[in-house]
């Protein structure tokens, strides 16, 4: 079961590299939230209500429901539905994503030892690289935001890869990270579009030397 979820997660990462419509981005982020919920529940060592409520809050409520809802609102508000056609082609993005997958596998093979879960480690690295590829290749701010969310999901998986049980402090840190994401999305939705009147990152070039 766990392996099936991991494979689904990898497929979602490959798919996100060729997506062009913003609504699909929002759907994939929601889908990843559900997968992460499943993975986190399967990894629960015992029925600890505090940990369970934290997992549900982080993955289901935030990653699978709130964030995709905010993304959808942004899409409706800005009325921009697609990434720029002048950007990198779908084929090139797919190739880059596959290369990232291979690099992640090689890195995992050479780096991971017994203290780290190899599968989670590899997928986490792949998620990080996928997020970075999205940020670098796509020119729309919206896609950058999605790239950041993919990285955040990668970080979540990375914490799963670590065999050590993390104290509540780390959970608090993750919640703060979530707060940052919400703040960024809020700023994006309410301010950036109003003031800059576009969601193209090319327009964010006034602050420079």
């Amino acid at each position: 079961m766990l392996l099936s979820l991991i494979i689904l997660y990898i497929i979602s990462l490959i798919y996100i590299s060729i997506v062009e419509r913003f609504r699909n981005y929002a759907s994939i982020i929601a889908f990843q939230g559900w997968i992460l919920l499943g993975i986190a529940l399967l990894r629960l060592h015992s029925l600890d209500w505090v940990e369970l409520s934290f997992i549900v809050t982080e993955t289901l409520i935030f990653k699978a429901l709130i964030v995709p809802a905010i993304l959808t609102r942004v899409i409706n508000k800005t009325r921009i539905n697609r990434i720029r056609t002048s950007g990198t082609s779908q084929f090139n993005s797919l190739m880059l994503s596959v290369v990232a997958l291979v690099i992640s596998a090689i890195m995992t093979y050479y780096i991971a030892d017994s203290s780290i879960n190899m599968v989670f480690f590899g997928v986490a690295i792949y998620a990080l690289l996928s997020g970075l590829i999205l940020i670098v290749l796509r020119s729309r701010i919206f896609t950058h935001m999605v790239g950041f969310l993919v990285i955040e999901n990668g970080v979540f998986l990375f914490s799963m890869a670590i065999g050590v049980e993390m104290p509540m402090l780390i959970n608090a840190a993750i919640m703060l990270d979530i707060l940052m994401s919400v703040l960024m999305l809020g700023l994006f939705m309410t301010k950036v579009d109003d003031k800059i009147h576009t969601d193209d990152s090319d327009s964010l070039t006034h602050v420079k030397d």
Partner: protein, 467 residues
């Protein structure tokens, strides 16, 4: 003890958010500064020094030293901000002061945190507070700077988090206190340790304003009101430095420490290159001062990279840089009040407009360029001498070459501000010589340290650098 003060500081900040007049804001920030003074007095004279507060905070030497610096700078920043924002609406005014209070409290927490996760959380909190301050003007440029600051800092902090997780995996333990980790990672997997250090250094570089994520600090300083830039460029940069320094110290007992020092050296040299080259490119005095911070933090990283006496020199450099850079930012805030801008190629004749301010800037130029009697002369000389002994001539050669570029650029531009003919409209009614004197006093403090380092300062840096 610190928890009670955190509650007081947060309550004062919340009260400031809802203050209805400038007088109330003024009273609240005075109470806030007073509470910091009481906290500091208790720390230094009340027996709290070197003790632990709760589970997550320890009032160690390095934290206490940086806290004293923060307190001094924050007093100046609050007073200068009041004059700087005198024409702002009450909403903007109170929000600014409330966020400044929260930022100062969060930085204080970073200084005293004895747990790697708490440091990380509080650094993330500084991002939230600083973002609000950067957005203060609500203009297109400040929005852009805020967006970039939030985005890059969040990504950077997420990267640092990965490093922390990897460090925990190496330690095979769920204790995240620096003291425990120091013992747990001694025999850790070297590859994991290296990867963890690289990730944490990359993430925290956005706070310390060194390569690779230095740009975001420059943008933040550019967009924030100038007195707040004084805080960001010193207090917050010191928080980033301290976070990296604690990790550096953590790794000092591991077998990868020589590699860690080499990484610090390379990062320092790259920061110096970036600082030196971009100082020439920019046409804005605030960005100009920010690149000077990048350059100085590069020198600090080189000091850590060299090790030995270089660590002592790096710490001394940070201490003195705090006074010098905050003084320069506060002086530049007065320049902005007079010219209503920071454009290097247009504003000038400052020596005839505000003599005290101009002298402050010229003295600041001497100090930041490490000309004697600047205290930075001592630290830079020590770093170079130690580099000659431990690393070879090539490090010194690169440093000298880049510092020559810095000297030429800073002299040229500061002299331009004072003596070139002015092309911008003047707002002479905004000249406030008392503030120029006030900013100058910070610089004089730094110059005094250049002539004479108090035994207590030397002693405390000795203890911090000894590991």
């Amino acid at each position: 003890m610190i928890y009670i003060f955190f509650v007081i500081w947060i309550l004062l900040a919340v009260a400031t958010f809802f203050a209805r007049s400038r007088k109330i804001v003024h009273s609240l920030y005075l109470v806030y500064l007073l509470s910091h003074a009481i906290f500091g007095a208790n720390l230094l004279f009340g027996g709290a020094y070197l003790s632990t507060s709760g589970e997550f905070f320890t009032f160690d030497q390095v934290g206490s030293l940086f806290y004293v610096l923060l307190f001094v700078v924050s007093c100046y920043v609050f007073v200068h901000s009041e004059e700087y924002l005198k024409d702002d609406t009450i909403v903007n005014y109170r929000n600014y002061f409330a966020l400044l209070m929260l930022l100062t409290a969060a930085i204080t927490g970073v200084y005293f945190a004895n747990n790697i996760a708490v440091t990380w959380i509080l650094l993330e909190t500084t991002t939230l507070c600083a973002a609000g301050i950067i957005y203060h003007r609500h203009s297109k440029a400040t929005l852009e700077a805020t967006w970039k600051y939030l985005f890059v800092c969040s990504t950077g902090i997420a990267i640092a988090y990965l490093g922390i997780l990897l460090l925990c995996a190496t330690a095979s333990n769920n204790s995240l206190s620096y003291a425990d980790l120091q013992h747990l990672i001694i025999n850790g997997n070297p590859l994991y340790l290296k990867a963890a250090f690289l990730l944490i250094l990359t993430g925290y570089s956005c706070k310390m304003e060194i390569f690779p994520l230095y740009t975001i600090g420059v943008d933040a300083n550019f967009a924030a009101p100038a007195p707040a830039s004084a805080m960001i460029s010193t207090g917050l940069v010191n928080a980033g430095f301290l976070a990296i320094f604690r990790i550096y110290k953590l790794f000092s007992t591991t077998e990868v420490f020589p590699w860690v020092k080499n990484v610090m050296l390379i990062i320092g040299l790259l920061s110096l290159v970036v600082g030196a080259l971009f100082l020439r490119r920019t046409n804005n005095y605030k960005r100009f001062l920010s690149y000077s911070t990048v350059e100085n933090m590069g020198i600090v990283a080189i000091g850590l990279g060299i090790g030995g006496l270089g660590v002592w020199a790096a710490l001394f450099h940070v201490v003195c840089h705090t006074f010098i850079k905050s003084s320069l930012f506060l002086q530049i805030a007065i320049v902005r009040q007079i010219y209503n801008g920071y454009r290097i190629n247009r504003i000038g004749d400052y020596i005839n407009i505000n003599k005290v301010g101009a002298i402050g800037l010229l003295l600041g130029m001497i100090a930041v360029l490490a000309f004697p009697p600047s205290p930075l002369f001592i630290s830079e000389l020590m770093i170079m001498m130690e580099a000659l002994t431990l690393k070879g001539w090539w490090v010194v050669a690169i440093m000298v070459l880049l510092i020559c570029i810095v000297i030429f650029t800073i002299c040229y531009r500061m002299i331009k501000l004072c003596y070139q003919s002015n092309q911008d409209e003047l707002h002479l009614s905004n000249i406030n010589r008392r503030l120029s004197y006030s900013a100058l006093s910070l610089l004089i403090l730094a110059l005094i340290i250049g002539f004479w380092q108090p035994a207590i300062l030397r002693d405390i840096i000795d203890k911090i650098a000894m590991f």
